[in-house]
Subunit: 523 residues, 2 copies
Amino acid sequence: MTIEATMGEAAAIEESLEQFLIVLCVSLGVATISQISSFFRQIPYTLLLVIVGLVLAFVDIRLVNLSPELILEIFLPPLLFEAAWNIRWRNLKNNLIPVCLLAIVGVVITVVGIGFTISHFTDLTLPIALLIGASLAATDPVAVIALFRELGVGERLTVLMEGESLFNDGVAVVAFGILVAIPLGTQEFSTTNTLVQFVTFTGIGIAVGGLIGFGISYLTQRFDLPLVEQSLTLVSAYGTYLLTEELGGSGVIGVVTTGLILGNFGSRIGMNPRTRLSVSEFWEFIAFFVNSIVFLLIGDQIDIRGLLDKWQLIAVSIVALVVVRAISIFGLGTVSNLITGKNPISWKQQTVLWWGGLRGSVSIALALSVPAMLEGRQDIIEAVFGVVLFTLLVQGLTMQTIINKLGLIGDRPQRQAYSELLARRNALEQVLERLNEVKLSISIDEAFKENYRRTVQEKLDSVNQEITKLQESYPQLRSLDQEQLQEDLLDIEAETYAELVRSGKLNKNLSPVLEKVFNTEEE
Amino acid sequence: MTIEATMGEAAAIEESLEQFLIVLCVSLGVATISQISSFFRQIPYTLLLVIVGLVLAFVDIRLVNLSPELILEIFLPPLLFEAAWNIRWRNLKNNLIPVCLLAIVGVVITVVGIGFTISHFTDLTLPIALLIGASLAATDPVAVIALFRELGVGERLTVLMEGESLFNDGVAVVAFGILVAIPLGTQEFSTTNTLVQFVTFTGIGIAVGGLIGFGISYLTQRFDLPLVEQSLTLVSAYGTYLLTEELGGSGVIGVVTTGLILGNFGSRIGMNPRTRLSVSEFWEFIAFFVNSIVFLLIGDQIDIRGLLDKWQLIAVSIVALVVVRAISIFGLGTVSNLITGKNPISWKQQTVLWWGGLRGSVSIALALSVPAMLEGRQDIIEAVFGVVLFTLLVQGLTMQTIINKLGLIGDRPQRQAYSELLARRNALEQVLERLNEVKLSISIDEAFKENYRRTVQEKLDSVNQEITKLQESYPQLRSLDQEQLQEDLLDIEAETYAELVRSGKLNKNLSPVLEKVFNTEEE
């Protein structure tokens, strides 16, 4: 090791750390402002980040070069893992038919529809146009889901949107991989070939993801080491991705499989509730962190002036995307309703799914990963960046209005506020109780205690007032206690089941009883 | 961006990710084994990691090149931040005199003592020997503190050891920076110069750390955004380090200052208790994670055959270190006892401090950061690596015996077990209560409920049995409830204070009362 090498390395590490910190500080600033100012709070903060990134790019401040590797290998695995970890299998199972239709058939419709439209209306060749279609087939639900949560839109839409995105990312990446080989001339296109490849890619992904997921689930069952278990989730997210790619499969599908298994099975049988909570919080933080960086960098990567030159191509792409997604959502929605029969997806929900299909980092990563030797690479990049920007800003910023107009806003915000108030009241009551309990045992000044008790009592009164006010305005909230209780009980039961599996007590006598519980849970 | 550049970048990212994952899997494997096997559980897992690293190095498997930049800029800031975040100011304040004596005078004694001994007994020049001394002046308490926790050694030893290490890291790095300039001929040595430099380095560190720490404390007081606040702690750890170094100060001291302020002040006035807990857990995880990597890499970095060639130099260094630390600890301990008067550090405690002064990553980072142009660099590296290895393995693995022999083991393990059992009983009782409550409201099979209730009741009985058994063996545990209550009350009060500051209600009428609380707290 020569001294120059050392100093070069030092400078490189320091520079990337500094860049990283600058990106982070800007992101955090935006995240904070978006929450504090009531004007900005109406905009999902991811969109605000894109806008800030755009402004920075416009005044020619380039933060970091957003390479496809950075997106696909560093940012995507944790984001997918977190989404998969948090999605409830029982919800997903109830919506498996529409989700699979959207994620598989929907991607095919998008690729083919956008491809043929662009190659027909512009002078791009079909192979290039299909690559634009494949890049745009992956949806990015982060901004919209955040909005759903805030507005209290029903759980079903969230599951459909997240489920679709979870799986169509993988399918789109596989489709892109197959399609990119064609214009390079390394492979002749044939439907059989494509199908075989697709099945291989996803099959390896599911197999590796399943092995790692179940392997770690049963491994963590053998010990109770919170920090090791937490580390294992991080290792499994990146490890599954790398290993699957190494074996020629789809890393994206691998990570999603691992995440689903660990979140729904492993975390129940292998982790104690405390660990599970820590791990969930850890991943929530990682997702927040990565998203903050990604959306800022997406904005910062876009060259508005470059996009303006290609406005015709972009306009055609946008129209193609919007129309094709309408066909895909409303068509597949109808098909799904016909198949499942009960509990159809209403046209209002379909409208939200259609307009809420934003595009994000995966689309950008795919566009950027087109080999430089391919003529038309720049066209693909400009088209995809333009469409992503349109979906994020135009669709993203109008979503709230549309949800409002369709009357899909639920009473979740009130319910949220209500249960927070109940928790607060509970906590304050406990403090008061404690204070009275320790009357004799502690040498604390009586005056202070009195003062303190008064403060707590005042707070408690104001909380009680707010609770009454809410109950008067929204009478249905009174039933919330009941619902909460029901949910708690389900959780306790799931816990018991996990506890039994853990202690190896699950035998024939018990399992029919437990099956019943699971059925109750899924109702 | 040409395609080669892209592919090169992709390969580089993938390779470092893979290396990172391999390191992580090995570390986790070791961490897991160390907990599961009762034989290995006697060894602190950090030492086990070093041993595994050594074995890997011996069969010539080199994982990652552990550069000084990697240690100082990537690994050290989070480790220092975590230690500072968790140390309680009120404990530190009570031990400020011995800690400062050890961290400042102790470092001077170590540097000078080791330097003169080595230059006298070997053929190394004094400037080189002093650099060895400076590298070895920073202690690394991780392995020993873990042992303390496990064995239930009194809190005071933990505070002394952690406090010393927290501050002597900074002093050692500053001393090293000053000393390394001398043999390079860029600076003449003079005591005045050195003192001025020392004061400047630490002064800038404290100033920047204080500004950032208090700045973020007051900033987070203005909003309640858990994820943003959590991110801010991460940003402040790295940001303080980089900014302080940029301004010519000591980054280590900067980070420690920020961590102390945020952990003791900012987290109380600016974060709600939930956030504080999440952030603490997050940092616990980061520290575990980084330590797992660092200790494995320390072992993996050592070339046993190279060390054997220099056995004389290493032997002299080891003897010098052990003797000089004896002088420093027993001498400064006596001085400290004379100054403070009450509550002296017993000779047993001093013995543990002396033998428990292991060396770790900071020493290695400093040795590796000696410029290659300096003749004698290799000697410094070999000597420091040899001493670090000796302290970790010989001192580290005999610590438990010494603590045992000195009779310093407390009843903390039992207390830990006892309060866990109490918590468990509480939880189970709540479950039972819940089950009875919901008799009417939920449509759950009665047979299952009965079965379930029986299971819970069985568990509750066995927990109760264990509690009784523990109470019989250790009667003093009965007073634990009382102590716990007292601690809870102190926490509640601190909470109230924070709540008052948050809501801006802290006025003249209240503050004298609160001052009293703080005094009670510090007793």
